[in-house]
């Protein structure tokens, strides 16, 4: 995938021989390698979560992960007799991230080769690779944001949501209504910039162009409210707060021309809740309120972001066949357009909107 820098979001650990020396004999308390624990702490600071794929007795494994040195460190750990590629698939599914966002470290050449053969997308590592890990670009993480530091908690809240969804036995609409979701949208503030930059670096499926804007380009737009509209979205529900999960860059292009959505991006953690549609619908409402007759949006296809093309179509945008402006951010992109005359599409019924700092008539 040219142009898409790889970002590791979760490092999956083998236990015996990797997290500690040798094979854990029954009854002994294992001693996790101090260098490994320090590495985990640093990765966590960078927003990279840790999980476990271990072939072991599930009960014994649960006791190991409850050890004081390890408790609370892992999300969606998989301990059982299943092949490790099955465990890795489950972890990616639980976290709702791509397999290419997983790295896997194991001391067994057999396990490494088995995973590499079945799941070529996964970055496979041996313990000797660990000391150099922090210097690798895939593990750079984002800047230290509140969302990055809270990521293990966010993934645990997501596990609670998934458990609650199973209780609704497939009635997704009723489940979504029961979540009491509130979408808060505000104009971006300078304090939001590190998290916006992190979304620029990390989002794939729900990113309309995949262009990785330099931080200075984002900061310039946020500092120019007359030229650009940069809304940021935060989501909360009865399980907790997701934090800042989405943003858009909208070029007003001077009156009265259509506004241009240069970028719409959302964290894949909010997938399947109508949040991208709500944010795009809000942009249509803001454009309509400002007397702008049409809203344009850039879309550049890549193998991961087809959902964004579907989103544009679902809200009534149509490909114009025209290329975007002569700008590196728009290279290879096409312009989608929708008029802003009423009726605009409805907001998802299960969502409460909390929108401030924009034109009041937008809603």
């Amino acid at each position: 995938m040219p142009g898409l820098a790889r970002v590791i979001k979760c490092l999956v650990w083998d236990l015996d021989g990797t997290l500690w020396a040798g094979v854990q004999a029954e009854g002994d308390a294992p001693a996790p390698r101090p260098d490994v624990l320090a590495l985990m702490d640093e990765l966590r600071q960078r927003g990279i979560v840790q999980s476990v794929a271990s072939r072991n007795d599930p009960g014994a494994g649960a006791r190991l992960l409850a050890l004081p040195a390890l408790a609370g460190r892992f999300v969606a750990p998989q301990i059982g007799w299943q092949p490790k590629d099955v465990s890795l698939r489950r972890i990616a599914g639980e976290l709702n991230i791509g397999l290419d966002a997983l790295a896997f470290v194991d001391d067994s050449p057999f396990e490494r080769a088995a995973v590499a053969a079945v799941l070529p997308e996964v970055l496979v590592l041996a313990p000797p690779d660990l000391p150099a890990l922090l210097a690798r670009p895939e593990f750079a993480g984002g800047p230290g944001t509140a969302e990055a530091a809270a990521r293990p908690r966010l993934y645990q809240e997501e596990a609670a949501r998934r458990a609650a969804e199973r209780d609704f036995a497939g009635d997704r609409q009723r489940f979504l209504e029961s979540c009491a979701m509130v979408l808060e949208v505000r104009p971006a503030q300078p304090a939001d910039l590190p998290r916006i930059d992190e979304l620029v670096a990390r989002t794939n499926q729900l990113n309309s162009t995949g262009y990785r804007y330099p931080a200075a380009d984002i900061a310039r737009r946020v500092a120019d409210p007359a030229g650009y509209l940069v809304p940021v979205a935060r989501l909360r529900d009865r399980f907790g707060a997701y934090g800042l999960i989405g943003a858009a860059l909208v070029d007003r292009q001077g009156a009265p021309g259509p506004w241009l959505v240069e970028l719409l991006m959302l964290s894949c953690r909010v997938e399947g809740r109508g949040i991208p549609a709500a944010l795009l619908r809000l942009l249509l409402g803001l454009a309509a309120a400002a007397g702008v007759p049409a809203l344009d949006a850039l879309y550049r296809p890549n193998p991961q972001n087809r959902q964004m093309a579907l989103l544009l179509r679902a809200l009534g945008f149509r490909a114009t066949g025209r290329p975007g402006p002569a700008d590196p951010a728009a290279t290879g992109a096409t312009v989608y357009r929708r008029g802003t005359a009423p009726p605009l599409p409805p907001y998802p019924a299960w969502l409460t909107l909390d929108v401030q700092g924009f034109a009041r008539e937008a809603l």
Binding site: G170, E271, G272, G274, P276, A277, P301, R306, Q307, M308, A309, L310, L311, R313, A314, L315, G316, R318, A319, G321, T334
Partner: protein
Amino acid sequence: MTGSEDWRAVVRRLLAAVLDRPAAALAALPDDTPLFGPELNLDSFSGMVLLVAIERDYGCDLAADDLGLESLETIGTLAAYLRGASARPPAPG
């Protein structure tokens, strides 16, 4: 399968599965029912599930072949697209 009638049935069957609706409810909708309209309420997420199902069952990567997703207008336009795609030989490689 060559008749467009059959592909209309295929599209209705896929939609019934993706949207978790009874087949009879889909059979009652006319061919010009918009996919993203109020009757079907397909959204970007369920639309993605539909594309994945089409690729899995019919080997047709619609989003790659139809960049503007023009075929995703109505039940009828999607059926016509799939009928055309099934008549074309697979791309080399």
